[in-house]
Amino acid sequence: MLRIIIAVMLLCASLQVKAQPEDKPNILFNLVCPNDTNEIRLETVRCYISNLSLYSKGRLVYHDSVYHLLNLRRGVGIGFSYEEISSVLVDSAQFNIGVDSLMSVSGAMGDDLDPEKGMYWAWQSGYINFKIEGRCNKVPARNHEFQYHIGGYAGKDNALQTVGLHMLKGASVLSIDIRLDEFFSGIDISKQYSVMIPGPEAVQLAKRFAGCFKMAR
């Protein structure tokens, strides 16, 4: 009986954090994919969002220190709703894309940071901040597959990005687009189609990805 109660409560608790759009989230992430003429077929888009702060008129109204792994798909928004501020009009958000260096050197973690989620490198320690995988005919590799596994936490290879977004008028739902169309329009995929290790190339792509987070129009 006790276990059922715990299970139910765990379920409620997780619903509380990861809400479907109809649950009126405070913040919502939407994937904007490249249009088909680019022939880019996305298979995986996953990223960590952490250290999320929400502001209203310059005042911090909520801080979420949980590490969230977003599994993004076309047409499905991922929202977080926070009961405490359900009626607050939020106008700004700041968050990190990725896992910071402290968490990257502190051993095995649970929940969304559990290495079984496939976002941890095995051969060299550290989290993958985001993964973008798919196929494109322009890619000269096997099966035309491209993959970006972007991470790195040490020194100048640190690929963690902080994003701050602001809109003039507060809204009950802060809607953020992840413009992967812009991500791909800026790289030559026939040359840069596989980046899987920390380094300058990964940092450059991390910056490009961070630049794709925009307030929805």
Partner: protein, 335 residues
Amino acid sequence: MKKWCILLVLSAGILAGFKTNKLTFVVPKGWPKPVYDFNRNPLAEGKIQLGRLLFYDPLLSKDSTISCASCHSSFNAFTHVDHSLSHGISGKIGTRNSPALMNLAWQKDFMWDGSINHLDVQALAPISNPLEMDESLVHVVAKLKASAQYKSMFYNAWGDSNITGERVLKSLSQFMLTLVSCNSRYDSVMRGEKKFTTEEANGYTLYKKNCAGCHAEPLFTNGQYENNGLYVDDSLHDIGRMKVTKNRADSLKFKVPTLRNLKYSYPYMHDGRFKNMGQVINNYMLGLQHTPTLSPKLQKGVYFTDEEKVDLMAFLFTLNDKSFITNPDLAFPRK
């Protein structure tokens, strides 16, 4: 916030029931503070036993043939039996010699080049290496979930039968943290229980002069990366630490291994090139390669007379800890 609070109270109640099981890690007298943060993963008997079962279980490999112990056998101070390069799944041969495992609680990073930054995440490397166990953590977790024995072991260890990657890794860490070797003849001399023979005492002096700069007491490693003058094996082309830091100054540097339990852990060096201690000492005397990153500590070379060699060996022999390799608590768990 209400739901969260209730949840927290409940789970605190669950944990309290297991508090009695909490163990304290004993630091041998005179040893430094461990690097491992036990607060993040407090030792408990059930977790250690679970980690031990996992360590010896070939279920962790793709075809259930290879366990951690296949390459880290207790009788060999937890390294591979007499292989220079480790042998993994389907007899595939790896690119490095498996290190002896001991006193891991004091180690900051892992692997010959330090590519792993924490003991908890170490196991991910062999589990997913196609030359070693060729598995994935998520699949290992699925296999464990299908086992009634593991379900009950996870329940006993962690307070519920939820099997996660984090728990698998932390349990493995707990077992590996118990691999403490601190009962060699050297240790009893340091504790004042025994005395060195004249040869051993002379060997100790020679060691302090020539070796201790890198193989520092009491762990017999300084935990640093050094180039000890080995020639480069053309077939492996292992650049060591530079692979991780991408810094030329780290080329050919490898983690300084301990000198404890050498009797059981042969062959030696990152590629297992030396079969016995005679070859090792001869190489320090005659084989030093003066590459640009050779450690300043070895620039002047090392020289021993035949008698000194015998004495140095006699001292190194005092570092063998039979109680460690024969400890039944660390051996294959008999059910």
